[in-house]
Symmetry: C2
Subunit: 594 residues, 2 copies
């Protein structure tokens, strides 16, 4: 590296004082103090102060005057202590500076579209258009570094456990019902299409049939759905699968992975073991299958308190098989108007209503409905919900699932920390096998290749049957999910039957996979972790775009390169496809979208 | 792992004798010897012999009789020494066997489409259709393992050098001239398309602009060309790039990578340093830019010998600026008919002809043209080509490039080892900047972002100008290529000008990239290694398909899953595209292709 540098500026320390160094990097900031130029020189290792005094570097004086922010330069100089009073304890290199003796501009920079500085926050569209400048900011550079560190940590754990990394294909078959596969037209078979994988699910199961036994892959996956703020059309997951494996093997491996990742990225040790909670418990206590357990405010069942209530709203709900539940939101300091907003929020979430109560200094409950409740009910509420003076108690009477969901959402909006300084992992286990569709049929809660805990139960009461699937949750975000898979083709057929998939349809959609199961398939289980979400939480970022080098906008566009774009007709012809006439017509109407 | 096993069969050794083990795996072979069943049990660790004697495992006797090859089973038993005379020194577990005490079938296998055994070689179409069985074969399992080991070794070297792994997008912009991009229609922007990347080239250069300084990625890339036997539409490359880097930095890093890979996969140390050869030298001595230097048979220039020849064919060629060159093919034991075949081969390769000579015992030359040559010429040939009795000397008189290419091909077909037991790496450097097109213009020899060695030379004599690009060659195969990049936008414009790309066209095609170069771009350089080819050579495989888990056929099909396929019209409608009427019409004519 002798040609451009022999040291990295960000690594210089007091022990380097007296050394002649050759540095290369970017000008993060420059100040001119009476002819002496002070540079904050940035490279991948960090920042260091460079002082250019024309007396020390007369040959470079002319160049010195031309310097602007973000020029890429090469400096030779000597490491020396900073003058007394100018030591900067906030910088790792704050005790030293480099006294420049020569200077060369490697390349200049045009006027910047925004300041490359944490203190200025540019519009996201501009940031994406000039992503190469945005990524120079320390925060973004750190996000990229941490992502690399996280993935490396995952690999180290799995390599040590003798997992094989196997690259499954990304040009795969589109299953007939896969309306939201991303498609790739085939030139050698015009009019036919590959799909980009939503996950390597079936291929990793084939690898188990193939005897690989321990598989992982940091896999690019594709999901063509309407973009939400935290989704991207392409994303990365750590995908893993093991044969002769059971749920405990998977969860133990996951614990080892996330422990190492958190240690390497954040330098902290997470407590062991990672707690486990059943799906039923999670719904009952937190109203969600991905509880944020960094704070309490758990949902409390008030059914017993109101067992013989004369308050019509509660009594009728209970009589209809519904539930009365509440959360103690603590002292939220809410005015009457504040509570009205909560009521409106609950109604927006689909609840019929929300009853609020405030615990007074004397322990009594103030509430618009207090007058309808008996003394026993009022004291029962306070006792069951552990109400202390000032606490806001929020109660919903509704269908069981609705009450849980609404209280779960209120709990989050009232209690959730707005950062990720603490990290609390949780495994949610024992998910149901099936969910009811609106039409009254069943869909697979996880996916149709998930093993039930008990085959007889699955057949006899599919609605409540428990599966061998599990999620990993961090700070209330689902980091990933997995399951023990079905390895018996007969059981697989039974699952399809309950799902209302006929034998013919199953054959048409998954025939090749069902056939594979017939050749000595081992018991196997696996998981996939969403890398983007995981890293964004580790980095305390609200949005996964901040931890992706070149993300797309919410409409799937890349403001930097202009993707996607219009392509030549000749190219489409080779593929046997054409853009529909109505789309072309719309193009000529709007010239702005090209 | 207690549920299914507590040991791996392939790891059992004499030191395990006496241990009770629980094993799980597949029946690779079974023999029934008078009621006692001998199993070759295979798992990911290898093979071990299991002996099932009904006397030791009475409860399992019925199951024992039902066993067939490739059933997946679980066995409990005790490790014991094999009987004298049955020790198998060719197996790592050959000193021991497991005396089974109980047996459980985890899953059965249907009748196999082919034997899962090295000794049977099934048709490749069948192998791909049942890839999950094909991959159970030891050779294929070893290929997958070695591929994983190779990639891990690459990562270890780069991680140790503080490279960041960065995932560049795979849904990118299609450049207007990219007739062979694989396309992905966008649903959110109907009628528009993403392209799948042919390489991360421009994104990795943007990462250098972004200050990443050291980047790598094991990247999936896509190439929609007509398939040849050793190409796949999707393939994997180790992609790397560094800032403040020069050619030596790249080549040193590559040497460290391949040294580690060869050590980890093959257990051998390659000699250092990896030799370097200029492009000009490679063409002159081997007739190719990817010489196989495992054997000599170098091309010799006979121009001086024939400087004043009266043999018309040679004299005319030399007078026209052509060349007379030859190789000493050694003792090939060829008959007259054998030489005639070589002449035909040379003509197929485009040569006007081929002169052959055989060195007789007395040192004289036997050849159809001997009578036209002078004594001095004949002895000059023998001396220049170091002819020894029995050697076949092959001479071509033609245009310089043609003679080199033809002799290079003949050299390979006569001398190239048919295995990869030896590994000889070579860096070929100093490639030309440009190549002439058939129309008389220029194209970039590497790619248009490659820096010339000398800017003035590039402008003054583009035809012969040398670039700062380089290839890595292993056993005559190009493993990858790279270059020092242009980091000066003005120089980039000059290159486009010589290439005949107008400023407007450059702007339309690469405007966003050219703009990025204007913001303090550091000097940078990089490389990409083809992982599939590299691993196939390490594994002594002739075809990259053998080291890919689920490759496509030469027409881009996957016989296992049926990809690519026809998709629903509703899905195409969402994307704003349609299959052309003539393609649909062709479908109804041929029902076989669906």
């Amino acid at each position: 590296m002798a040609k451009y540098r022999n040291a990295h500026g960000g690594n210089l320390r007091a022990s380097d004082i007296g050394n002649e160094v050759h540095l290369a990097g970017w000008i993060a900031r420059r100040r001119d103090h009476g002819g002496v130029v002070f540079l904050d020189l940035r490279d991948a290792s960090g920042h260091v102060q460079v002082v250019l005094n024309p007396d020390d570097a007369p040959a470079s004086e002319e160049v010195m005057r031309r310097l602007r922010n973000e020029f890429c330069i090469m400096v030779k100089g000597v490491v020396r202590p900073r003058l007394e009073g100018t030591v900067n304890p906030d910088m790792p290199t704050g005790e030293v500076e480099v006294g420049g003796t020569s200077l060369e501009v490697l390349s200049t920079a045009d006027t910047l579209p925004f300041q490359v500085d944490e203190r200025f926050d540019a519009d996201e569209g501009r940031r994406l258009q000039y992503r190469y400048l945005d990524l120079r900011r320390d925060r973004m550079a750190d996000n990229l570094r941490s992502r690399s560190t996280a993935i490396r940590a995952m690999r180290h754990v799995l390599d040590d456990l003798d997992f094989l990394e196997v690259e499954t294909p990304t040009l795969v078959v589109s299953t007939p019902e896969g309306a939201r596969d991303m498609l790739v037209p085939s030139r050698l078979r015009p009019g036919q299409f590959y799909a980009l994988p939503q996950s390597p699910q079936l291929f990793k199961q084939l690898l188990m049939v193939a005897g690989v036994e321990r598989y992982y892959q940091v896999a690019r996956c594709y999901r063509d759905e309407d973009f939400r703020s935290d989704r991207q059309v392409e994303f990365t997951q750590l995908d893993l699968e093991g044969s002769f494996w059971d749920q405990d093997d998977v969860l133990d491996t996951l614990q080892a992975i996330v422990t190492r990742v958190v240690k390497d990225v954040r330098g902290i040790d997470i407590p062991h073991p990672i707690p486990r909670m059943t799906y039923a418990d999670a719904i009952a206590r937190y109203g969600t299958d991905k509880p944020d357990v960094r704070f309490g405010m758990e949902i409390v069942d008030l059914g017993e308190v109101f067992a013989s209530s004369e308050f019509r709203a509660f009594a009728a709900t209970l009589a209809d098989g519904g539930t009365v539940r509440g959360i103690n939101a603590g002292d939220q300091g809410l005015s009457r108007a504040g509570f009205d907003k909560l009521v409106a929020q609950a109604q927006d979430l689909g609840a019929k209503g929300l009853v609020w109560m405030v615990v007074e200094e004397d322990g009594s409950l103030r509430s618009p409905v207090a007058k309808f409740l008996s003394e026993a009910e009022l004291s029962g509420i306070a006792a069951t919900m552990d109400g202390k003076p000032g606490d806001a108690l929020l109660i919903v009477a509704d269908e069981v699932a609705k009450a849980a969901a609404v209280l779960g959402e209120l709990r989050l909006s009232l209690g959730r920390p707005d950062n990720h300084d603490d990290l609390e992992f949780l495994f949610v286990v024992d998910f149901p096998v099936f969910e009811r569709t609106a039409e009254g049929g069943f869909v697979a809660a996880h996916h149709p290749f998930t093993a039930p805990l008990d085959v007889a139960e699955m057949r006899n009461s599919p609605e409540t049957a428990v599966s061998r699937s599990y999620d990993m949750v961090l700070n209330g975000a689902e980091l990933g999910s997995g399951s023990v898979r079905i390895h018996d083709p007969e059981l697989q057929s039974q699952v399809f039957e309950i799902l209302g998939v006929s034998a013919d349809e199953a054959q048409a959609r998954f025939g090749w996979f069902l056939e594979a199961l017939r050749y000595g398939t081992p018991p196997h289980a696996g998981f996939a972790i969403g890398v983007d979400r995981f890293v964004s939480i580790l980095q305390n970022e609200q949005n996964i775009r901040e931890v992706m080098p070149f993300p797309k906008t919410q409409t799937g566009a890349d403001p930097l390169t202009g993707a996607p774009g219009v392509v030549a007709d000749t190219q489409l012809e080779e593929l046997g496809i054409d853009v529909r006439a109505e789309v072309r017509a719309a193009w000529s109407d709007t010239t702005s979208d090209s």
